[in-house]
């Protein structure tokens, strides 16, 4: 299973994750989630247009396009990071450390990884997706993503501390400490019960 340079040209879909040696990344054309979002956006654009006219619509468009341009290089960096991790990390080690049978230790590793991961959403999600494709299970990755959002230091230092104050921030983080492991454990608990019969559809 370790010989991965075999490139599957037909980008296997993400659902084959359990059987493919080099499971497909998320390269699917637009899925249902994106369609729902597109509809929501269309409705919102109409609402903004009715409220603020064409000027309101173009104003938001300009701001968002600027934001989009600013984000793009970081997204590229995040994608490269994810690809390097998927390529470099030995898959057997990842499945042992973060796989379905990694137990509490796997959840703790996921939590620690999410808490120390530098950068922003543009690093966490590509890296999380990469780990999923090389053998980590939903539980460990849930712990990682939840840990990043709740106890990751980046946002806490830059935003929460100055706005909410030290006392609130520290206690909020202390309260949040057990949550990533609990979320990951709950994830595993539910996962084996929903997908009892092997690979999910």
């Amino acid at each position: 299973m370790a010989e991965l340079p075999l490139k599957d040209p037909a980008t296997a879909d993400a659902d084959a994750a359990d059987t493919e040696p080099r499971p497909g990344r998320i390269r699917k054309p637009i899925g249902w989630s994106m369609i729902v979002i597109a509809v929501l956006v269309a409705v919102s654009v109409v609402l903004v247009w009715r409220r603020d006219g064409v000027d309101g619509v173009t104003e938001i468009l300009t701001t968002d396009l600027e934001l989009f341009g600013g984000i793009l290089p970081r997204v590229l960096a995040g994608c490269l990071l994810g690809a390097f991790i998927a390529e470099i990390l030995p898959h057997e080690k990842v499945s042992r450390a973060l796989g379905p049978s990694s137990g509490l230790k796997g959840l703790l590793i996921g939590t620690a990884f999410g808490a120390i991961l530098p950068g922003g959403p543009f690093t966490v999600y590509p890296v999380a997706a990469a780990l999923l494709t090389v053998g980590a299970d939903f539980g460990a990755i849930i712990a990682m993503v939840v840990s990043w959002t709740l106890i990751g230091y980046g946002r806490a230092i830059v935003w929460e501390l100055p706005i909410m104050g030290t006392d609130f921030t520290l206690w909020r983080i202390v309260i949040s400490l057990p949550l990533p492991v609990l979320a990951g454990a709950l994830g595993r608990f539910v996962y084996v019960r929903i997908y009892r019969h092997g690979a999910p559809p």
Partner: protein
């Protein structure tokens, strides 16, 4: 300034991992760069929809509605409203935390504000639309969100139990 530091750390990590890949052999480096670039190309349209779309969705949700939900009522109904408000809060961390601070000044109880901040961290729709759904398998995102549902309440319960913050 902090943006610069983020970029340095980010591209520094890319460089370090790229170097490790290169040491494993040229093919490893070329393969991963190609994979990463393909991922990037595939994700750009989704991010575009997310960024531009989230701006419009945020524009139709007025902040006053959110603070209204976070009002000085307390108890578990307050926690529930705070959790819904956290998920519905438009905008990035500045808006999320500022609304939390406003609610606190307006007299909302600390457990409710904790529930609000935790719910915002777990479910803020803008982050889901803009980042999580484009990058992660959709099945993972919905599963993750569903499994996270109890945790704003767990956080509020802990805050009530320890009497902090």
């Amino acid at each position: 300034m902090s943006a610069l530091i983020v970029d340095i750390i980010l591209w520094g990590s890319v460089a370090v991992l790229g170097f490790i890949a290169w040491q494993r052999g040229r093919t490893v480096l070329v393969t991963s760069v190609r994979e990463g670039t393909m991922d990037f190309i595939n994700i750009v349209p989704r991010i575009a929809l997310g960024v531009i779309g989230a701006g419009y969705i945020a524009a139709v949700i007025p902040s006053e509605v959110i603070t209204g939900w976070l009002g000085p009522d307390s108890g578990w109904l307050g926690v529930l409203m705070a959790a819904i408000a956290g998920a519905a809060t438009p905008g990035g961390p500045v808006i999320g935390f500022s609304l939390g601070a406003v609610a606190m000044k307006a007299g909302a109880g600390p457990p409710q504000v904790v529930a609000y901040v935790v719910a915002w961290a777990l479910f803020a729709f803008q982050r889901l639309i803009l980042w999580e759904i484009p990058f992660m398998p959709a099945r993972f995102v919905w599963f993750r969100a569903a499994v996270s549902l109890p945790f704003p309440f767990v956080a509020a319960a802990i805050a009530m139990a320890i009497g902090r913050p």
